[in-house]
Amino acid sequence: MTTATATANRKLTAKDFQVPFPNDWCPGCGDFGIINAVQQAFARLELEAHKVAVVGGIGCSGKAPYYFPVYGVHTLHGRLLPFAHGIKLANPEMTIVGVGGDGDGLGIGAGHFVNAGRRNLDMTYIFFNNEVYGLTKGQAAPTLAMGLQPKSLPAPNIQGQLNPLMMAMSVGFTWIGRGYSYNVKKVVDLIVAAIEHPGLSFIDILQPCPTYNNLHTKDWYAGKDLDSGQPRIYWLDDTDYDPVIPEGADDAAVLGKMNEFLTKAHEWGDEIPAGVFLDNRATSTFADRIETRIENYRAQPPNKREIADESGRPTADLSEIFDEVRMT
């Protein structure tokens, strides 16, 4: 395992973003496809490993950071967004990818999810949507539809379902996509686009959990139970759906797009749309906004500012501050 850096004579490959440690997800878990896709996306983007942080929540999904030779941060249940925000705000040069479960993100972490939307900080949040709490053995996640009973539940789910796409849109995520973990190629494209988007990106990944979710399995997504036998998932880029809110879009344009989004996000059942749902280029990033307060924020971000001279003396000059309260 060495530092992944593209050099003049060598392109990076997914291998550069793999680690020689065993992985302990269940055989056939949808999570594998996701990390494969992330590895490929990193390579395609030619990221320097030390400038990347993969920040995980807690859950099977939350273990994903262990599988990249970058800065891998396995945080607390529901808290990947605040940790990721802290890292990115203090070191804006880093590429931040959040990886977390649906329980993590919309159960215990929902408050951060909602308020992260308000900031539009430049990072990508990959949401592992398996409809269950995997690591605690199969309880209902907030993404599980009411009335369903995956195998660990003693009775059908009595709580309603949240639609992660709707949630992301309602709170202000500016790039929203959906992937399917067994279609790695498409997921790679989504991740690349999400990382390239300069604001807060969200990817809902439909991630079968063969161990606990016996309802929405690989076969189900493949439509094996349907008369048509056709896969349930179809791709928005094969339709004329346009996810873009262009820079400077007016309110009516934004509202129009939101309505289209809503209609698409609502689709489920025999036909499930995937791909890019929203690409909002009209909203400023958090870094832009910080610059209105701290002009040299990008040049002198919190992690870079020189705070002491060689002998450890503070560089901060408090004379102005003292003057405000100076009496004699």
Binding site: M1, T2, T3, F21, E48, H50, K51, A53, P65, Y66, P69, Y71, G72, V73, H74, T75, L76, R79, L81, P82, F83, H85, G86, I87, L89, A90, N91, G111, H112, N115, R293, I294, E295, N296, Y297, Q300, P301, P302, N303, R305, E306, I307, A308, D309, S311, G312, R313, P314, T315, A316, D317, L318, S319, E320, I321, F322, V325, R326, M327, T328
Partner: protein, 657 residues
């Protein structure tokens, strides 16, 4: 003492006539803060030492708030339960505080309130009403503010009536402005009348106005006129000879800044090079963060403009996690909160602890439990600060006792955090945060920034960086997120030296031991003078053990004892973790009696002392009504103890604050 209610609370104290304990009260939002601000600045600008204490309700407008200011030629570190001069301009303040004016003292009151029934005062607590009415009835006085005034006079207090409405009218006439505008000077009028009474030179009051409203000449002019009016009025109207206190400016013009505890901490953080602070608003911590927001950039000796990125988060969980995330990149990073917010940070602290993140949390204690007394003070969170987190990780807990410590400790906290790569909890309380004092400008030369062991991972290793490599000190060089070659993992789970989660029993033991060793290292390295400080007569047997904001009052009480030839010493514990057990065992050996003084119910420091040394305090002096201790009450209490009281737990009570 439990039923000593509406009654004078202390023996009459003699304070030199050239110093002053002054109080102003009024409804929140009516300008009490401004009044106190003018008063304090006027005094400080005259070279006097100023100490201010602020009491207010958890309310935006209408409820009672008051400000105690002590002014003297010598430094003052505590308020007095009783004052010499009280300024009021409405009913509630008079009803509450008349009782606290000492014999020979004076008070101002608004003419229109005299007939008012105590029963009819909107926000006066039922209990306080009942007690005051009973007190008046017992003495055969009317249960009106007139009765209150009569009682004051009987107790030897000068009562000065002022018709504020009339004064406002004359001002409006004089300046040709509407009365509503002129009425905004009511607090200035009140302050100026006090200062006129003590014959304080009015030019300092003018200067104070300029400080309060910098650049807003119109407002200043109007208030200057109000000051003149008040001085004139006092001279014309009152017989001031019966009130003997006079305040003269000081000749010495040593440099002084006037600020409160929140500001001192904020300044310490800026000085220390903090570049990131996350926060969620909560009394009494908010003011620190909003001060930082308002001073987000500042000059820097290296030419570049310095800055602190301040982020208001959605809650305290986010605040602590965000600050920890920022700290991982090498940014000096902190968050500030108080009890309820800190309670929500417990899980985050544990993560920072196991990941050895240099994270500073500034904890302003307020009255608890739960929402408790949000704008009052308590030293109730020591147990929580020491034990927040399931299982164990090393932490530094540092308690400041006054504004100077608040500043230097706020800065030192980052050195500890980075040196020991762990969580530092810097504890203060509401009474420090809202306490104003005139102090010498802080000396940045006393601050040295030590960043601890930072890895230089490009030195040629292969594979992930062994971030958590066990070492003898427990401290391992840390790469900062973003450093080439420094890649490793971080996890709340037990981990290998690379930060990968593991459940291996041997690696677990190594890491647990490595982490906990840092506490021993810190205990060894931190100088004893940082851990604890001794005041008073170091050879005295009569020993007081205390911490935090009580210090000022205790030191003054010890001085009063010393004046009577009674030797006493205070041992102030500053570092609560690693607890200086061995040092205290030695110091406390000759203590007789050992008296714990704390602003909490059960004597938390005393219990921590016993936990670590087995030493029990002989007496406990506690106060838990949400208000700080006054020097003279402590002095009286210590005398009682010297006289051999049987009580082992003495509760300081004052129903009138």
């Amino acid at each position: 003492m439990a039923d000593r209610r509406y009654e004078p609370q202390s023996e009459t104290v003699t304070i030199n006539h050239d110093e002053l304990a002054w109080r102003v009260g009024g409804p929140q939002g009516s300008g009490v803060d401004t009044a106190a601000g003018i008063f304090q600045r006027a005094c400080a600008l005259g070279g006097l030492n100023v100490f201010g204490r602020r009491e207010y309700y958890s309310n935006i407008m209408g409820r009672h708030s008051y400000f105690d200011v002590r002014v003297a030629h010598h430094p003052v570190h505590s308020h007095c339960d009783e004052v010499q001069l009280l300024t009021t301009f409405e009913d509630e303040s008079l009803a509450r505080h008349a009782i606290s004016v000492v014999e020979g003292g004076a008070l101002f009151y608004a003419a229109k309130d005299v007939e008012k029934e105590v029963q009819g005062i909107t926000y006066l607590d039922l209990r306080a009403k009942d007690d005051l009415i009973a007190y008046l009835e017992e003495r055969g006085l009317p249960t009106t503010l007139g009765g209150v005034l009569e009682d004051a006079r009987q107790r030897g207090v000068q009562t000065y009536e002022a018709d504020f409405d009339k004064l406002v009218e004359s001002l409006a006439d004089q300046l040709d402005i509407v009365s509503a505008l002129a009425a905004r000077t009511t607090n200035t009028l009140a302050v100026a009348m006090s200062l006129a009474l003590v014959e304080y030179p009015r030019k300092y009051v003018y200067d104070a106005l300029a400080k309060i409203w910098p650049g807003r000449q119109k407002i200043i002019d109007m208030n200057v006129a109000a000051v003149d009016l008040a001085y004139q009025f006092v001279r014309d109207t009152y017989d001031t000879s019966k009130f003997e206190h006079r305040l003269t400016p000081s000749q010495s013009k040593e440099p002084r800044i006037l600020l409160n505890g929140n500001q001192a901490v904020a300044m310490g953080k800026i000085a220390a090079g903090m570049t990131f602070q996350s926060y969620y608003p909560i009394s009494p911590a908010t003011d620190e963060s909003t001060y930082l927001e308002a001073h987000e950039t500042f000059p820097s000796t290296n030419g570049a403009r310095g800055s602190v990125l301040v982020v208001q988060t959605e809650d305290e969980i986010s605040a602590v996690c965000m600050a920890a995330g920022a700290a991982l990149t090498g940014a000096r990073s902190a968050t500030a909160t108080s009890g309820p917010g800190f309670a929500l940070m417990v899980e985050g602290l544990g993560w920072a602890g196991i990941n050895e993140v240099p994270l500073v949390v500034t904890l302003y204690q307020r009255g608890g439990p739960s929402t408790g007394l949000p704008t009052r003070s308590e030293q109730g969170d020591l147990f929580l600060a020491l034990n927040a987190g399931h299982s164990e990780f090393p932490r530094i807990v540092l308690a400041s006792s006054d504004l100077e410590e608040a500043f230097y400790d706020a800065a030192a906290a980052f050195n500890y955090a980075e040196r020991y790569q762990t969580v530092v909890i810097h504890i203060l309380d509401k009474s420090i945060s809202s306490k104003t004092m005139s102090v010498p400008p802080f000396d940045l030369e006393r601050i040295r920034i030590e960043r601890g062991e930072i890895a230089s991972p490009n030195g040629g290793h292969e594979g992930p960086y062994p971030r958590f490599k066990p070492t003898e000190s427990g401290i391992s060089p840390r790469p900062l997120l973003g450093m080439p070659g420094g890649m490793h993992w971080l996890t709340g789970g037990e981990h290998t030296q690379y930060g990968r989660v593991t459940e291996d029993p041997v690696v677990r033991e190594q890491q647990m031991e490595k982490r906990m060793r840092k506490l021993e290292t810190a205990a060894r390295e931190i100088p004893v003078d940082e851990k604890l400080r001794v005041y008073g007569d170091p050879a005295a047997e009569f020993t007081i053990l205390s911490w935090g904001s009580n210090k000022g009052a205790i030191v003054e009480a010890i001085e009063l004892l010393a004046e009577e030839g009674c030797a006493a010493r205070l041992i102030q514990v500053r570092i609560m973790s690693p607890f200086p057990g061995p040092e205290l065992e030695e110091l406390l050996a000759p203590a007789k009696p050992l008296i714990g003084v704390e602003a909490n119910f059960s004597g938390q420091l005393a219990q921590v002392l016993r936990q670590h040394t087995g030493i029990a305090c002989d007496k406990l002096v506690v106060k838990y009504n949400g208000r700080p201790m006054a020097a003279r009450r402590l002095y009286e209490t210590f005398k009682t103890i010297m006289d051999g009281t049987d009580e082992t737990k003495i509760v300081l009570r004052n129903p009138n604050e």
